[in-house]
Symmetry: C2
Subunit: 345 residues, 2 copies
């Protein structure tokens, strides 16, 4: 079997070899609605096996006006937040026999729209948008318009972490998680907080900041706005932001970084500045990145079920029937207290 090696075998050749028509061969080899008699069916299968037939996916996509591609758009695949989500999406897609197309934006919102258009050109079956929204209104409108075009063409779209788009969305409890965290830290005895808030235009970062501040206000703590430092959403961003915070001086007893990789940078910066965590300053993060669970001191954080979120988004886009209204599936956030936080001295 599979002896054939000369170039590519077409369905035509299989049909000829089996002595049947193109239509019959097609019906046997793709499992259409129509039945084919046992004898011919066997002949076709045998010929296909012998010739090593492999359907031309482009031709199929053209004829069906739909490909077996599923898009996945992330900011940066090297970021463990996105690679966890990606793992969930690919797992689900491969279960369905689909193929994942990975697009990375490098955090340029406009790239998201471009990639989505490319996926539309490929007649992708579905797309999962995992990059977090910005507050850029024009960009969001363009993206929404492109999503409309994509769905109009028969494709399905699901998002992770950003509401407001015309698509089903898995929404992590960013606000509530950050608020819970704040309450736990207050209970622990902290009253003065500094926040590494990430980029000001990133919705996810903002939501976490808002949730945190909201809980502080409820507890009668006025957030000290000079202790909110914006910076890149990365480990190095966390490091640099912390240095700026220390340079400016702060009387905070606890530092909240709006994601784990920034918290990692923060701890490194504090250590380099000769400060101990948590004795001199407590530090908390957000996400509970698996790779960072072995950090010392272990990081107090808010756990998101990242891989599940990816799976769920893929499920929404692939197996769920399209809904009239965009659906929202909440993803719980759970505070995990570990060693990087302690009662203030």
């Amino acid at each position: 079997m599979e002896s054939q090696s000369s170039g590519n075998v077409t369905l035509e050749q299989v049909a000829q070899h089996a002595g049947v028509s193109l239509a019959t061969a097609s019906r046997v080899l793709n499992g259409s609605t129509r039945q084919v008699g046992e004898k011919l069916r066997k002949k076709v299968m045998a010929s296909a096996g012998e010739l090593g037939y492999l359907p031309n996916a482009s031709a199929q996509a053209l004829a069906r006006n739909s490909s077996s591609l599923v898009g996945l758009i992330v900011h940066d695949i090297a970021d463990p937040y996105f690679s966890s989500i990606a793992s969930g999406v690919t797992g689900r897609a491969e279960e369905e026999g689909l193929v994942v197309v990975l697009g990375t934006t490098g955090r340029t919102p406009q790239r998201e729209t471009e990639i989505l258009a490319t996926l539309r050109a490929h007649r992708a079956k579905a797309v999962v948008l995992a990059g977090t929204r910005t507050v850029d209104e024009v960009g969001n409108r363009n993206l929404a318009a492109e999503i409309e075009r994509f769905t109009a063409q028969g494709g399905r779209v699901a998002c992770v972490s950003q509401g407001g788009l015309p698509a089903d969305t898995v929404v992590p409890a960013n606000r509530e998680g950050a608020a819970d965290l704040a309450r736990r830290l207050i209970t622990m005895g902290h009253r003065r907080f500094a926040v590494l808030a990430g980029p000001p235009d990133l919705r996810t970062a903002r939501d976490r900041l808002d949730g945190f501040h909201g809980a502080l206000s409820e507890a009668g703590i006025e957030p000290a706005y000079h202790d909110v430092v914006h910076g890149a959403f990365t480990r190095d961003g966390g490091y640099a932001s912390t240095q700026r915070l220390l340079a400016a001086g702060t009387d905070a007893t606890c530092l909240f970084a709006v994601n784990d990789v920034m918290a990692t940078g923060a701890i490194a910066a504090l250590r380099d500045a000769g400060l101990r965590v948590p004795e001199d300053l407590s530090v908390a993060g957000f996400d509970d990145i698996p790779t960072l669970r072995d950090l010392i001191p272990s990081l107090t954080t808010v756990r998101l079920p990242l891989e599940w979120m990816g799976q769920e988004a893929a499920r929404l886009a692939l197996t769920e029937a399209p809904a009239a209204q965009p659906r929202r599936v909440p993803a719980g956030a759970e505070v995990v207290l570990r060693d990087s936080t302690a009662p203030p001295a």
Copy 2:
């Protein structure tokens, strides 16, 4: 512009709107060899813009017998080793205006062959195989055969980290790196070593083990084979392997884990067993995973240029002219001594 919304605009419609033939429209909008007069060119461009024309990628792939897809096959995208490589590959591919298809094998060698066949069905332009080879001869032969088919069809293949396949390969200095590491540890004063060797059938794991043992032998140290523990190539594998090692008892002063994620698990297991690193036992890893650089104690390891390796593999597959002989591009490995190793007590 881009006012059109009714379904999908075809080239035919653009041509009609512009009052030219299909051929002319095609020539304008895809930059073929043939020139088109300035007047018609402008008309076509205007019509395309106005109608919001987007070429049907499937039809293009069919007509050209080649798509704009680039495959990337990894074991597990959530593993930072692979996500770093993936980052390099996607970066390069997107520079070329290509689209990356991500396949994950879950460490099943046979899946690699399946995914490659799928990519052939899609007439992918190139594929980067990043999963490490096993010693499974049958599996490797099947994979090699599928690679031949893929290249026969006009596709290009490049590998990361595994020689022996009929494709260009970026080869990290696993042996030499491990040997260098061993020599540095010997210089430091260590004489008795234990090794977390990963899965016995994984070439990368074996090469590192061999290199390490080779350097020990050269220094007149007979490796203690009861202190070589095999286990999963993951953080939890490292944890479990270390527990087994401790349960069996060892007099080693230094523990070499053949990758960083295993080393991370090892440190956690040692800590849970009440042992201090490096005072009671030194630990070294391999890869220098960026996300793990903030570990405490910071990890002595062997640095591989992971992202560069991905870029380079993509470059070999995309821009380099196909060679008669499979090329091998070496990737240097550099020992990085940090705090997880110290002279033995």
